[in-house]
């Protein structure tokens, strides 16, 4: 895996955009008429939601490629993407609670999207736990790739089941459905989180790659092969 500095640049750029967009949205954007300042969380919540779905889709792609092509590269990216997905999902649930408490008086409002996110959080956290308990690196890579594919395919099913389940009650609103946001801070933050995640996922993947190389056997003394691994 590469050694260049581009992830640092990308992450740095992302962080800068995120700070700019957040300050703008949280402090300077026009106040929303009905909801007030609480609605401002949308400037962080929506970008997080988009990127959570993006990084988990990327994880799915890595899983498929890991199963079809093999090699440590896709497995390392998979590990990074799943961790990123877990972090963003946890953030989403936290943001959702921060919004729900002052708005509805409860910490959790069973909104379909947020509930799906919670289920995803547990599913992918479980996959990280799975990784921790498998010693053989090859098996670990194959099994987690299989688990990610299976969990990802579940996403639409979970979403629809929770939505129907919840539709019997009043459809709770979320920061997203309530009002139209002022576009610019939202877009800036979206790209901010995107670049930040791309940089961080690449760095985390490099770390995973190095760990894999360290735990693999050294090359055969006869120089027959380099331990690039096989899947």
């Amino acid at each position: 895996m590469g050694n260049s500095r581009w992830p640092f640049v990308t992450a740095g750029l992302g962080l800068a955009l995120l700070v700019w967009g957040s300050v703008w949205g949280l402090f300077y954007a026009p106040r929303e008429v009905y909801m007030g300042d609480v609605q401002r969380i949308m400037y962080v919540h929506v970008p997080t939601a988009w990127n959570a779905m993006l990084v988990l889709t990327f994880a799915f792609a890595c899983a498929v490629l890991s199963l079809l092509r093999g090699g440590w590269g896709w497995d390392a990216r998979l590990e990074a993407a799943v961790e990123g997905g877990v972090v963003l999902s946890a953030l989403l649930c936290t943001q959702g609670s921060i919004w729900a408490r002052p708005t509805w008086g409860v910490w959790w409002d069973w909104d379909p999207r947020l509930t799906t996110t919670a289920v995803l959080l547990f599913a992918f956290a479980g996959i990280l736990a799975l990784r921790g308990f498998v010693d053989d690196p090859v098996k670990r890579a194959v099994w987690t790739a299989v688990a990610v594919v299976i969990a990802y395919v579940d996403v639409p099913l979970v979403y629809f089941s929770v939505r129907w389940w919840n539709s019997l009650h009043q459809l709770q609103s979320t920061p997203e459905t309530v009002s139209r946001a002022f576009h610019w801070p939202l877009r800036i933050n979206a790209f901010g989180v995107l670049f930040l995640m791309i940089g961080l996922v690449e760095l985390r993947a490099r770390l995973a790659w190095q760990r894999r190389a360290a735990e693999s056997a050294p090359p055969l003394p006869s120089g027959v092969a380099v331990a690039t691994g096989r899947l």
Partner: protein, 240 residues
């Protein structure tokens, strides 16, 4: 070239026949194993019934509330019991590497998966059906639509069995297997759980708005997706 093509065509037909016979051989093997270990199954059933009893203690002796939630309790009890039953189903396969022995004969991994998964559906169905009298007694939850209830139990059991058999095969080969199987399975089967609970609830409490078919359709969709997907990937999970 002609001979090769003819031979490959014959081989293709032979492969279909052998796939079916492989599946039947696997199913027979798994049913026999289940019959032989039926004492363990009784213990799992008792566990499920005890769980149902504990749920009612959590709610309190409120007959209306108990009846309201009876469907949820039934499926939660079944879900918890299923982790025990599913884990047991691969115990015998890894103890002396029996599954590997079959793969080396050779046996088609897909046939082995579907045989085991179908046997697990049967076992979970029997478990579910066995727990129904328990909820009738404890929660006063009754429905006259017996065939529909049976169909939902079968479909729900199928939803638990497909990914459950796959993950059981995986976790049986690792340490911390008893924790990892439910950890991986529970978030995954949320759609099937919701659909099964709603469907059962509609049967017990009534279905004025005719929602039953939509929930059953969701359950069928979940089963279709996972019975095909898990069969496809099973080989990667059990082969080196």
């Amino acid at each position: 070239m002609e001979r090769t093509r003819a031979r490959d065509a014959g081989r293709g037909a032979g492969r279909e026949r052998s796939r079916l016979s492989g599946f039947l051989a696997a199913l027979r093997k798994d049913l026999l194993l289940q019959w032989r270990t039926r004492a363990q199954f009784v213990a799992v059933f008792v566990f499920g019934a005890t769980a149902l009893l504990l749920f009612s203690f959590a709610i309190g002796p409120d007959a209306a509330a108990l009846r309201q939630h009876s469907a949820g309790f039934l499926w939660l009890g079944l879900l918890l019991s299923s982790t025990l039953a599913l884990a047991d189903s691969f115990e015998s396969e890894v103890q002396h590497r029996a599954l590997e022995g079959l793969l080396l004969l050779p046996a088609d991994p897909r046939a082995l998966y579907y045989g085991k998964a179908l046997a697990n559906v049967l076992q979970l169905t029997v478990l579910g059906v066995g727990l129904v009298p328990v909820i009738v007694v404890l929660y006063d939850a009754f429905t006259a639509r017996i065939p529909a209830l049976l169909a939902i139990i079968v479909l729900g059991a199928a939803g638990l069995s497909a990914p459950g058999t796959l993950y059981s095969a995986m976790t049986a080969q690792m340490r911390a297997r008893n924790t990892l199987l439910p950890l991986l399975l529970f978030p995954l089967v949320v759609p099937a759980l919701l659909a099964a609970v709603k469907s059962t609830s509609l049967l017990i409490l009534g279905d004025p708005m005719g929602q039953l078919t939509s929930w059953v359709a969701l359950l069928v969709a979940f089963d279709a997706v996972y019975w095909s997907l898990c069969g496809l990937v099973f080989e990667r999970v059990v082969e080196d």
